[in-house]
């Protein structure tokens, strides 16, 4: 039995493009296209999405050309930790204030690698939080609360 040799990079990228193009075409389906001399708001989105769709199909086709390209294994730890850190900031910044949000963000981001030392990380988070409060709220007057309201 011959194993199917796939270019996974092309396959995934092609799928991504086709999905995005299809989504864009769907989202702009009600906009009027107009014609070249008097373009409607839907003209450019339609043209660009169709081109993207074409590229997506091209990559999908190319992925089956018989050359195997694998994707480096995804390591979940750094990915999830960094994304979670940003998410926690977005959830807490306006509710709990910058001071607490900063500490949480730095601590969560620190989880991304095994090298992080817990005590050092906590101290560093407090330090950065103080620095951020000083810089962004005192100096740059960013309108974000410092403490929970």
């Amino acid at each position: 039995m011959t194993r199917l040799r796939l270019d996974w990079q092309d396959l995934l990228f092609g799928t991504f493009l086709v999905a995005v193009a299809a989504g864009a075409l769907y989202a702009t389906r009600t906009l009027s296209v107009g014609h070249a001399a008097d373009m409607g708001p839907g003209y450019m989105p339609r043209v660009v999405s169709l081109a993207l769709f074409g590229f997506g199909l091209f990559f999908l086709g190319r992925s089956a050309r018989g050359v195997a390209v694998t994707i480096e294994a995804v390591r979940l730890r750094p990915l999830l930790a960094v994304l979670a850190a940003v998410g926690v900031f977005a959830l807490t910044a306006e509710r709990l204030g910058l001071a607490i949000a900063s500490v949480l963000t730095v601590l969560l981001a620190g989880l991304a690698t095994r090298e992080t030392r817990p005590l050092e990380s906590i101290g560093f988070a407090l330090l950065l939080s103080a620095l951020a409060a000083l810089l962004f709220i005192k100096v740059l007057a960013l309108p974000v609360p410092l403490w929970p309201r």
């Binding site: 995005v20 864009a24 708001p41 839907g42 993207l52 590229f55």
Partner: protein
């Protein structure tokens, strides 16, 4: 002499005390991020954009430009001492620079790198001043038709010179264009792809996109690779090169500067291409090519000059035509727009203080880099000892606060999160995000000019070919596309960009 008048106007702006201060801050930040591997100028400038709101346009641009060429400068320090390129542009410097350091000639290598960069910076400043006036005069003849063709040329050229597969880069440009369309359509008032989210009606902010894709995605990918750093620990001595060293390095410096200046002007040029080409050229010209890779001084002088010259001349398309040569220049355009200045050929007449101030500040900044940095080398080396485990959480935090600060909107933070995930996906499937950023920034302009051109020509597409300047520009596009498909160029490009 118009040129001298212009340079004098520029110097009078650049030498204002506060602008000197901004320039100094810029080059210091630039050197710092250049020295630190894993932090590039793109996320840094994106991060600092919100800070430039309250500043005058000239000061803001002077500082941001300083970060850019300062980073090129700092990158070579890391390359020489640690054999890790601080920036992509200094990959080549690793080859001979680090060898020199291992032979105990680290001081000489650093000094030659600094001198070459300064020399190239000086020449490039003059080149910019010389080329800007005629180019801007030419650009004043442009109508919407020519602009559209020019933007197409800019986007295509960026694709040709980018890393990786051409088809992938092209689709990234299109993806960027699509993202650029999000928001309320200016002419009709119709909401496009906003999905009912009010925050999207003004379109996507490019700062969260840039920070997510370039900053955070890079961090995640960096964390997957085990980090190894071996700092050359011996004290750096012998910073003053001898006459013999200078004599050997000077011709390489001149050639590197010429090459870098020419390649930098090309759209999509910039970081990677000039130093690689210069290294190849020096190796070809050398009497004894086998010395290269074992600490040849020309192998440091040429590429360093080329990379600095290229970094600076890549401002020419931006300042004269208003089109960015690379993703970083796209951020600069964003900075100008935030200041309420529409980049384009009219900018030179309307804002001479700004344009010439920025040009003159580049020379001032290069002088600062030379004077300040050689004595500060110990400081930069000690910065290398900051472990990444402390560095990256700080960057994540500052990215969050910075993105929030642009419009005080949490939506932008969520957008950045999404872009980080997508950017990570792009890294995994081997696609460069830079063309996307160019498409995103240029997309709205491209559509606007296209619509206007079509309105003028009554929907007749042939107008792009019947007007001479536009036809010329599109001919170059066609030439580039044909060249990309020819097997010889493909191979050469692979060689030049192979790391």
């Amino acid at each position: 002499m118009e040129l001298f008048d212009n340079l004098l106007i520029g110097l009078s702006t650049a030498l204002e005390l506060k602008n000197l201060g901004f320039c100094l801050i810029g080059v210091l930040i630039g050197t710092a991020i250049g020295v630190l591997p894993g932090i590039g100028p793109i996320p840094t400038i994106a991060l600092l954009l919100p800070f430039t709101f309250g500043m005058e346009p000239a000061g803001a641009m002077i500082m941001l430009a300083g970060i850019f060429y300062g980073a090129q400068y700092g990158g070579s320090t890391t390359a020489i001492l640690v054999n890790v390129p601080g920036e992509t542009s200094s990959v080549v410097t690793c080859l001979d620079g680090h060898q020199m350091a291992r032979q105990g000639r680290a001081g000489l290598a650093l000094a030659i790198a600094a001198l070459s960069s300064f020399f190239a910076g000086t020449v490039a400043t003059i080149v910019i001043a010389l080329l800007s006036v005629p180019l801007a005069a030419l650009a004043l003849k442009f109508t919407a038709v020519e602009y559209f063709s020019l933007l197409v040329l800019g986007l295509i050229a960026a694709v040709v010179l980018a890393h990786g597969s051409v088809a992938r880069s092209l689709s990234m440009v299109l993806l960027g264009l699509l993202l650029g369309l999000v928001g309320i359509d200016v002419s009709s008032g119709a909401a496009r792809m906003t999905f009912g989210v009010p925050a999207l009606s003004d379109g996507l902010d490019f700062v969260p996109v840039a920070m997510g894709m370039f900053g955070l995605a890079e961090i995640i990918a960096n964390l997957e690779r085990p980090a190894e750093r071996h700092v050359v620990s011996q004290a750096v001595r012998g910073l003053v090169p001898s006459w013999a060293d200078l004599k050997q390095a000077f011709p390489a410096m001149v050639r590197g500067t010429a090459l870098g200046s020419a390649l930098g002007v090309l759209p999509g040029g910039g970081a990677a291409l000039p130093p690689f080409s210069s290294y190849a050229l020096e190796k070809k010209l050398a009497k004894d090519p086998s010395r290269f890779g074992h600490g040849a001084i020309e192998g440091v002088a040429g590429p360093e000059a080329a990379n600095n010259a290229g970094a600076q001349t890549s401002f020419i398309p931006l300042l004269t035509l208003g089109i960015p040569a690379n993703a970083l220049m796209a951020l600069m355009i964003g900075a100008l727009m935030m200041q309420g200045i529409q980049p384009g050929p009219q900018i030179m007449r309307e804002q001479p203080q700004l344009v010439w101030g920025v040009i003159a500040s580049m020379w001032v900044g290069n002088l600062m880099l030379l004077v300040i940095n050689l004595p500060l080398i110990g400081l930069w080396v000690s910065m290398l000892r900051i472990p990444y485990r402390l560095l990256f959480p700080a960057i994540v935090l500052f990215c969050c606060i910075g993105t929030y600060g642009i419009a005080n909107s949490l939506f932008n933070v969520w957008l950045m999160l999404g872009c980080a995930a997508v950017g990570y996906f792009f890294i995994k499937v081997g696609v460069e995000p830079a063309p996307l950023l160019l498409g995103l920034v240029l997309g709205p302009q491209l559509e606007e000019y296209f619509r206007r051109a079509m309105l003028l020509a009554d929907g007749d597409f042939s107008v792009f070919l019947t007007r001479p300047i536009s036809a010329g520009l599109l001919a170059v596009v066609a030439l580039l596309l044909v060249a990309m498909l020819s097997p010889m160029v493909v191979r050469g490009r692979k060689q030049a960009l192979a790391e």
